[in-house]
């Protein structure tokens, strides 16, 4: 029977005294969890770090705070020798609420760090290219331990839960590849994840049409490993899988195994990411693609229809005038 057959070696790692050697301790959990607390709620038990992205305890508002903070997280938490497994997911009903920033008066404001007009072109480098490339490279190169992504509800920037070694999602999870739909080129690493996980033809279709990918479709295509009933169930399952991993391989085996698992990702990232991202930035600059929240609202509308149709065994195909339930031709 496959179960936790061995004892977990959590907390048993050996280390010579920093005081004696003069070595510099890694930034501890207490410090980086405090630094990043405004968008990540972290807790750790038995070497398993759980990090939930959030804004004020609710679904994450996507802006530079997370875009930049996440690569700090991958660096600090990814290399913390006291972390053995990292779980990264969302809070509230959805992984992401949308792109923007809630103002003190409660209104929704634009994330102007993502602006691309000529006078703001420098932001393309610092706030998209720099943070974006480091986010992908951080996930793939900087994290030494097994990772589990928890995808709850509505999501974009799904690389954050797809580059992980294992991915779980909730029953109501869904996504759409936003780039082409907001007149952008998918070059920020998302193309690597989706192409690898669903195959070239399916990815080309999903990208060019903005197809809504539901939890069921994601499972069928191989983007996620399991569907869980809801967010708490997903995190509980992530912890269980993390414990299974801890009760199976020793520390060195776990860490070397995931390096093997990551190798194809590393190759693709090294091969493509930097130039594809720069091309995306150039295109964004000349086409002035909107980083606005309205697209996400329309996507929600379509996702609800698609999920309802799915329950009846029907499909909603991407169309010029969308929203029609149809039979799937098998």
């Amino acid at each position: 029977m496959i179960r936790g057959n061995y004892e977990s070696d959590a907390g048993k790692r050996k280390e010579l005294s920093h005081a004696e050697l003069g070595t510099i301790p890694h930034m501890p959990f207490e410090e980086y969890s405090e630094r990043l607390k405004d968008f990540l709620i972290m807790k750790r038990e038995n070497g398993i770090l759980e990090a939930r992205m959030h804004t004020n305890g609710d679904s994450l508002q996507w802006n530079a705070q997370a875009h930049q903070g996440l690569h700090y997280f991958f660096d600090w938490a990814g290399r913390d020798p006291d972390n053995e497994v990292i779980i990264l997911g969302g809070s509230g009903p959805d992984l992401f609420k949308g792109i923007g920033r809630q103002q003190p008066d409660g209104t929704w404001g634009i994330a102007h760090e993502f602006a691309s007009e000529p006078e703001h072109a420098w932001r393309l480098y610092d706030y998209q290219y720099y943070d974006g490339t480091n986010d992908i490279e951080g996930q793939v190169f900087d994290v030494e331990v097994p990772t589990i992504g928890v995808w709850n509800g509505a999501a974009f920037h799904t690389d954050l839960v797809l580059f992980s070694d294992i991915t779980l999602c909730t029953e109501d999870a869904w996504t759409t590849e936003m780039h082409f739909r907001v007149n952008m080129v998918p070059g920020d690493g998302i193309q690597i994840a989706w192409r690898e996980l669903m195959g070239r033809k399916r990815f080309a279709y999903a990208e060019l049409t903005g197809e809504i990918i539901t939890a069921r479709k994601a499972l069928e295509l191989g983007m996620v490993n399991e569907i869980c009933t809801d967010t708490e169930a997903a995190y509980a399952r992530a912890h269980e899988i993390a414990e299974l991993i801890m009760h199976t391989g020793t520390r060195q085996t776990r860490r070397l195994t995931v390096q093997q698992l990551r190798k194809p990702w590393k190759q693709d990232v090294a091969n493509e990411l930097r130039n594809a991202f720069a091309t995306e930035m150039w295109n964004t600059a000349t086409e002035h693609s909107p980083h606005e929240v309205s697209f996400w609202e329309w996507a929600h509308e379509e996702a609800e229809l698609v999920k309802a149709a799915e329950k009846k065994g029907k499909v909603i195909r991407p169309r010029l005038d969308g929203g029609r339930e149809e039979d799937e031709i098998k």
């Binding site: 091309t279 150039w282 600059a285 000349t286």
Partner: protein, 303 residues
Amino acid sequence: MPNTNFVNWPTFDQIKEMFKEHFIMDRREDGVVTVRMHTLGGPLIWSMELHDAIGKMWRMLGTERSTEMIIFTGTDEAWVTDFEKESWIPESVEPAATRYNHMFIDGRRMLIAQIQDVEVPTLGVLSGSGGHTELALCCDLAIAADDITILDPHMLVGNVPGDGIHSCFFQLMPYRQAVWYLLSGAKMTAEEALKFGLVSELVPREKLMDRAYEIADLLMAQNRYTRRLATQVMRRGWKQRIVDDLDMTFGTECFGMFTDSHEHSNMQSMNDYLNLKPDYKGALDLPENVDREAVARRAEEAN
């Protein structure tokens, strides 16, 4: 006779006529064609029109059935060392459209056509000093005059070297040298070019074309099929190289150009840096009264 007729590709003579403003073409009996870049008969002045023509030339000539080999060379001691200010005006009038249509498309097509669309062996004869040496060096064979200087000016004018010169240098030179010359814009002597493997031999200037034709004789002594199939064997590395890093790297160069614009009209000449005094026949500077909109429109209408 059958119901229909063959649709003929333009003949060599038609192609020669089509491209005469940019290339002087000559054809030997046995199908060896020499293509010489020029501007009004004199040394080359880099223009948008020529930039566009190069890819078209490779495509048209490379698939013309009576052409069995292409020798590509330049005029006098300059390869590409200066820019025609008036020609590059569309870049300042309509930077976004010009950079996509006439740099991203034309710039990539130039190299892709040379590698993918030319069915016959190519011999680059690097006859002059300056930049854009990939035009000769991405040929299957390449020789150079022994008195030339090679450089890549991208970084000197603040641009990312991503237009194919990078693919060329990475493919041919040891990596360390390629990176040095691309990042620094440093000058490379003919001897260094030979040492690093950019060319297979140096030839005294007065003997350059004789040597080119000797090499052509060597290849033309073989049978047609062997020659053409062997060429494909030699091209494989180039095909992989340009698939690996041409398209999106050009995008990186365009991103760089967008954030910090360096228009070709304002780029300085390399002639002082190279100690050259080319005897130009074409104009370099902006004329007195320039109709910028008209020049931009003409570029838009170019097919």
